[in-house]
């Protein structure tokens, strides 16, 4: 279980507090709090969790679009936050690509689809000459199912449907031959058939071309389908991590269990699902001490409202941050070796 893994990315205690923004409002939004996880080379690691729990912020921190309040992002053994000034890290920016969550906000309306894919190819000097540039662009568009490619390349973003834009984002990330792709809900607007195609492509890129992925999604079944390991976030905190299949079959954290119970599962037939009570909305604005899920948890104990539970390893590569497990919070934080499979 604790064999040394070859980690392409190792995220340690990543934390981001945003100012509330109001003029006299000194409060902070604790968007990401002490997040530790890693991505082994050629693996797909999933991040699931509540809307607003800090998934996109985590990806933006890793890609260095924003700077963390504290924490480390170790890429191939070096802390990229320390070692390079932000603007100078072109290599890192090329190696680690992001697919943005919002396909409507992330394409420039004034430029063609072809331009969107050409640009990174030119910036990162991936092609020599117009002909090769053109070929790469068409090739990438075909790869993501946006044929006929000659035509798609000439189109403007407004001519594409939501799902088509989403695939442009994916093609753009692929264009510079990255080592790691941080894919923020890359398939949420695709019908299941095309979705399976993109998921199979990710799997193939990981297996055959040595890419590694952070896959952010709300589709837990798809996470199990392609990813090796799944981490669960709730209110800025990582609350559980396990091999994807195990997480679905043996969820430990009460939030993970709630999440799984709410998944509509067409294969289970039409079951009438009990509606889950909302309870308190978790507050990220100067949050109270203790477990962030305490206000909603059916198993809450007095200690939960007082003390933040530590992460406890409960099975090989499976850890959970909850007072129901372990001995009241003396277990060590997960290390890279046992936090991610």
């Amino acid at each position: 279980m604790s064999e040394q893994r070859d980690l392409v990315l190792d995220v340690q205690h990543l934390t981001k507090h945003f100012p509330m923004g109001g003029m006299r409002d000194a409060r902070k939004v604790h968007a990401v709090e002490d997040v530790t996880f890693s991505i082994p080379r050629t693996e797909i690691v999933t991040l699931v969790g509540e809307s607003g729990s800090g998934k996109s912020t985590t990806a933006r921190l890793i890609s260095r679009l924003i700077e963390p309040t504290s924490g480390e992002v170790i890429y191939n053994g070096t802390d990229v936050l320390k070692s390079q000034p932000r603007g100078a890290s072109l290599d890192y920016r090329g190696d680690v690509q992001m697919v943005f969550q919002d396909p409507f906000g992330s394409l420039n309306p004034a430029h063609t689809i072809g331009y969107h894919i050409e640009r990174p190819l030119l910036i990162h000097k991936k092609v020599s000459g117009r002909k090769e540039l053109r070929e790469r662009v068409l090739d990438l568009l075909n790869t993501v199912g946006l044929g006929p490619a000659e035509e798609t390349a000439e189109k403007f973003p407004y001519e594409l449907s939501g799902g088509q834009r989403q695939r442009v984002g994916f093609a753009r990330a692929l264009s510079v031959e990255p080592k790691v792709i941080l894919a923020d809900e890359p398939v949420s607007m695709l019908d299941v058939s095309i979705r399976v195609g993109v998921l199979n492509l990710m799997k193939r890129l990981a297996d055959d071309s040595g890419l590694s992925f952070l896959y952010i999604t709300h589709d837990i079944a798809s996470a199990r389908y392609i990813s090796d390991h799944t981490n669960v976030m709730y209110a800025g905190r990582m609350v559980e991590g396990a091999p994807s299949d195990e997480l679905v079959h043996e969820p430990a954290h009460p939030y993970t269990r709630l999440l799984l119970s709410a998944v509509p599962n067409p294969h289970a037939g039409l079951r009438t699902q009990e509606t889950v009570a909302r309870g308190e909305i978790p507050s990220l604005i100067d949050p109270p001490p203790g477990c962030p899920f305490a206000a909603r948890c059916p198993h809450v104990m007095p200690v939960c409202r007082e003390v933040m539970p530590n992460a406890v390893t409960i099975a090989p590569n499976h850890w959970v941050r909850c007072h129901l497990y372990g001995d009241g919070g003396v277990s060590p934080l997960p290390t890279a070796a046992n936090s991610v499979g």
Partner: protein
């Protein structure tokens, strides 16, 4: 034949009173090489208080239908035919003033780009308050309280009321737009992929709330999503689109348990399962149809595992093969026996 089809699609058991009827709608986008026939002869209706789900392939024309109903399509889009009747009036023939009133009073829409459709320089609270004040004669203070309540309904803490859109997560922005639509409670609500950025717990809570409000106020919903399992739960009937056409439409349970069109069947077979053995899925082989020169006959024929004689030459009409179950496929040309 075609009038039968339209009557049939309207005929739903119970006391079905149509709110909106879409009749042979045709929309084209003028593109360089020719025109993209994004919506090609689509007919269906939505009853009062009914939820109709629209699913289907990416790029098959779902958002275009939604925009045609609202009459917000911009050039190069042109509506080349058909009617959109709401309580007998044709939206496509309304004067500018009538269409403004219609958009204001009778329909509200959550755009697929919801995450990106809020005004970036205005707080979400002010945007919700403006919408409420435009429709109700209440004080600004009352509107602010209502806005906070709407935020709570969609699971956003009321303290975020003074946040700007960029300070919210993708799913929170989507929820703020849903909150605006719900605050207005018009007779028809169009929701285009409203929950793509929501986790299943929040999604379920919001859908429960929408259902509750619908029962209370009796509005109708056109719900567009790729999430079939979600559609089955929320809608009364589901229409499946492929290449600009409806290829199948049925009550949601019937469609889910007994999909007849090979495209629908392919969709149903492409879900990764949450539990059980992990097996590789292939999706539907082949690529989406080119809508500038769509395939002859059945548009799905180049990809269909069951294609035979007439499929590449004759266009199959949408016919009722079981009560309220319509399908456009040569495998199902005659209504199944009345013993069904």
């Amino acid at each position: 034949m075609s009038t039968d089809v339209k009557r049939g699609i309207r005929a739903v058991p119970g006391n079905f009173v149509p709110l909106i009827e879409i009749d042979n709608l045709q929309v084209e986008y003028l593109a360089g090489r020719g025109s993209v026939r994004a919506v090609d002869g689509v007919s269906f209706s939505i009853g009062k208080g009914e939820v109709v789900g629209l699913a289907g392939e990416s790029g098959s024309g779902k958002s275009t239908i939604a925009q045609a109903i609202m009459r917000i399509l911009q050039p190069p889009a042109i509506i080349t035919g058909g009617k959109v009747l709401i309580e007998g009036k044709d939206v496509l023939q309304m004067s500018d003033k009538q269409i403004r009133d219609f958009r204001w009073d009778e329909v509200s829409m959550v755009f697929q780009s919801a995450m990106n459709s809020l005004n970036p320089v205005m707080t979400v609270g002010d945007q919700i308050i403006d919408a409420i004040l435009a429709h109700r004669k209440i004080s600004e203070q009352q509107a602010r309280e209502q806005a906070k309540e709407m935020l709570r309904i969609v699971g956003i803490e009321a303290d975020r009321i003074d946040s700007y859109p960029h300070q919210l997560s993708g799913g929170m922005r989507q929820r703020a737009v849903i909150a605006i639509a719900l605050a207005l409670q018009p007779p028809l609500m169009i929701m285009d992929e409203p929950t793509t950025a929501l986790d299943v717990v929040v999604q379920r809570e919001i859908l429960a709330k929408i259902t509750e409000l619908r029962e209370q106020f009796g509005f109708s919903i056109l719900f567009i999503t790729h999430d079939m399992s979600l559609l089955v739960e929320i809608s009364d009937r589901i229409a499946i689109m492929y290449g600009g056409e409806i290829v199948e439409m049925a009550p949601s349970r019937e469609l889910f348990e007994n999909p007849l069109h090979p495209y629908t069947q392919g969709l149903m077979a492409s879900f990764p399962a949450l539990t059980g053995p992990r097996k590789r899925l292939e999706g539907i082989p082949g690529s989406p149809p080119d809508l500038i020169s769509p395939p002859s006959g059945c548009r799905f024929h180049p990809r269909c595992p069951h294609r035979f004689g007439p499929c590449d030459s004759i266009h199959p009409p949408l016919i009722e093969v079981r009560p309220n179950h319509f399908v456009a496929c040569h495998l199902h040309t005659t209504p199944e026996g009345s013993a069904q």
